[in-house]
């Protein structure tokens, strides 16, 4: 089961403090980067729930995010729904799609699961790339942001939009914690560790997997709807499998199965990307080498590495109750 420890609270505090400071201090470009980080953070939280706590390494979460973005764009620009309704529809549609994908893929394990989710992601990509309704490879433009003028907030201002995303991210984080602490989340972790045992205990394993995948998909859908509002233009590239791969990279870079780690990963990844692409056009090379180094070091990402050291330090101080608990939580290979 997921639980917080002092270090996790500390990192969360630092991250939210940093985000708030940035939201008020930064100029336009800084705010754009902040928003990018916040939206990516939602996507990788969704991925961490299924991959880190359920052992379901999904290569379709980028596509799910894309489905959310397209659903939002379609409902708000073509069907004349208000942005709020469109957002609800986007989340619902993505959730249902993810539930179906989770149900279909629940029988596969390991590399087959990865391939199966990849197939569904690519299916969505190919379909949207060619369907005239979705604008094909031209994408869709003219997307408007949520109207919060009732409470006196103008989301077309990038500072307000960044703060709005930050508030939603906080909500998503709390929801993730609630999901993982619920009976469903505990069953999921049980399934990850020993599927046979959970089945013998009378659990309907595929339902647990599908339900969690659906909930995770809803978060990805929200991230997608926000992406569409952030850039105000979407293209099929959003659904490509490299987007899902990058999300996985971010989760690993931060620390799988910690919820806090992926947030750290999102910050590190976006900053690394922007800093590197300013210096060299070959930033993928650096990202690739960093990724290889992180995986081969066998540390659980940046945050996992720090937490590992912290646990050792705590043990040294004799307060090993929380430490051993956290050590059990540390998930190595899915």
């Amino acid at each position: 089961m997921f639980s917080h420890n002092t270090l996790r609270y500390l990192v969360l505090l630092m991250l939210s403090g940093g985000a708030l400071f940035q939201a008020f201090a930064a100029e336009y470009f800084g705010l754009e980067i902040l928003t990018e980080i916040l939206i990516l953070a939602m996507l990788v939280l969704a991925l961490d729930i299924v991959a880190g706590f359920g052992g379901m390494v999904s290569l379709c979460h980028g596509a799910l995010m894309g489905v959310g973005a397209y659903a939002f764009a379609l409902f708000s620009t073509q069907f004349g729904a208000t942005p709020l309704m469109a957002m609800g529809a986007a989340i619902a549609i993505t959730g249902v799609a993810a539930w179906v994908i989770g149900a279909v893929c629940s029988r596969s394990h390991g590399i087959y699961f990865i391939m199966a989710t990849l197939a569904f992601g690519q299916m969505a990509y190919s379909y949207i790339f060619e369907a005239p309704l979705f604008g094909g490879d031209d994408g869709l433009g003219g997307i408007s942001r949520l109207d919060l003028s009732l409470i006196g907030v103008d989301l077309d201002d990038s500072r307000s939009f960044a703060l709005f995303c930050l508030a939603l991210l906080a909500g998503v984080y709390l929801m993730s914690v609630l999901i993982l602490r619920s009976g469903l989340g505990r069953s999921l972790t049980g399934v990850m560790h020993n599927e046979q045992r959970m089945r013998a205990l009378g659990l309907t394993v595929w339902r647990v997997k599908a339900d969690v995948f659906g909930l995770s998909g809803m978060i990805a859908g929200l991230a997608g709807a926000l992406t569409a509002q952030h850039i105000m233009y979407i293209s099929p590239g959003l659904l490509g499998w490299t987007v899902s791969g990058e999300a996985l990279v971010v989760v690993i870079l931060g620390g799988l199965g910690t919820l806090v780690g992926p947030l750290v990963g999102a910050v590190a990844f976006v900053l690394l990307k922007h800093e590197l692409s300013a210096v060299t056009t070959y930033w993928h090379l650096v990202v690739g080498v960093v990724l290889i180094a992180v995986v081969m070091s066998r540390a659980n990402g940046i945050y996992g590495f720090i937490e590992g050291r912290w646990i050792v330090w705590q043990k040294g101080r004799g307060t090993n109750q929380t430490a051993s608990h956290a050590a059990r939580e540390a998930v190595s290979d899915a």
Partner: protein, 289 residues
């Protein structure tokens, strides 16, 4: 659209040519996986490397120099990757392997861009295979017939090596049960190294023969990877039969799908893959029952 016999033969040849190209790639990937449970997502990048090597060698000494040297060069790169990276990742779970090879895709993609630049390279079809040949009553590009023949030849050679020679028996034993094979005195470690190099060489060969058909671009490895993975997942990992069946299914569905149901063509193959995974999660002809 004329639906006479010649039209269908033409489409069948197109399907076969696509299948053979995918077969060259998937057979390396599948045997590497079957033998050592190693998932090499960077296999497509090796294919792209093969195409670049072929283009470079061809610029110096003509098409055939590239054709013969590109597989050797890619096998060399494979050797480096094996000793530096893959050997250490063999015992890790699929997740770690997927990620390491994913990082490798990023790295190799940019390395090819650094060495060869962003512009697409072209490579000419050798003089022998210029033009078209009348075949079964249709005119078909000779070079594409050559690819089909090459695929068949590789298939026959592999079939012979795997079924009739001692090393083939060792590979089959390793795929079926690597621990038992090691107990029987087979050096599975060395066997894997050899198979890995051959797999890389085949990827390089596929790149070299595909280079004149498609233009050589940095992202060609990314584009071919998904079809290759679909082939081995439909066919079942680790078996020659699976690689053949998967390649033929992919080639046919893709080619005939584009003719018969253009709206559905791109989704069709993914739907088929999903169906196979639901009905038989380990593929149609897996190495292990």
């Amino acid at each position: 659209m004329s639906h006479d016999l010649g039209f269908w033969i033409l489409q069948a040849l197109n399907a076969l040519q696509l299948s053979m190209l995918l077969f060259l790639l998937s057979i390396g990937l599948t045997v590497i996986f079957g033998l050592m449970h190693f998932v090499n997502l960077a296999h497509g990048s090796l294919y792209a490397l093969g195409a670049y090597f072929a283009a470079s060698f061809a610029a110096v000494g003509g098409y055939w120099l590239g054709f013969f040297l590109a597989p050797v060069a890619v096998a060399g790169v494979g050797m480096l990757l094996y000793s530096g990276l893959i050997k250490r990742m063999r015992k890790s779970g699929p997740m770690a392997q997927v990620l390491v090879t994913f990082g490798l895709i990023f790295a190799l993609l940019d390395l090819t861009r650094i060495f060869w630049g962003d512009l697409a390279l072209g490579i000419a079809v050798p003089d022998v295979f210029q033009g078209r040949t009348a075949f079964l009553g249709v005119e078909y590009p000779t070079y594409r017939l050559f690819i089909i023949a090459l695929g068949m030849a590789v298939l026959a050679t592999l079939e012979f090596v795997l079924r009739r020679t001692q090393i083939g028996a060792m590979i089959r034993a390793g795929v079926d049960n690597d621990v038992m094979a090691a107990c029987l005195g087979i050096n599975v470690e060395r066997l894997f190294f050899i198979v890995f190099c051959v797999g890389c060489a085949l990827a390089g060969l596929a790149g070299a023969v595909a280079a004149p058909l498609l233009s050589v671009t940095p992202d060609m490895g990314l584009q071919i990877l998904i079809p290759t993975l679909i082939v081995i997942v439909i066919g079942g990992l680790g078996s020659l039969k699976g690689a053949i069946a998967g390649s033929l299914i992919y080639g046919c569905v893709q080619t005939f799908g584009a003719v018969l149901a253009p709206q559905l063509a791109s989704v069709l193959i993914y739907a088929l893959l999903a169906a196979v995974l639901v009905i038989k999660p380990v593929g149609l002809f897996p190495a292990k029952g």
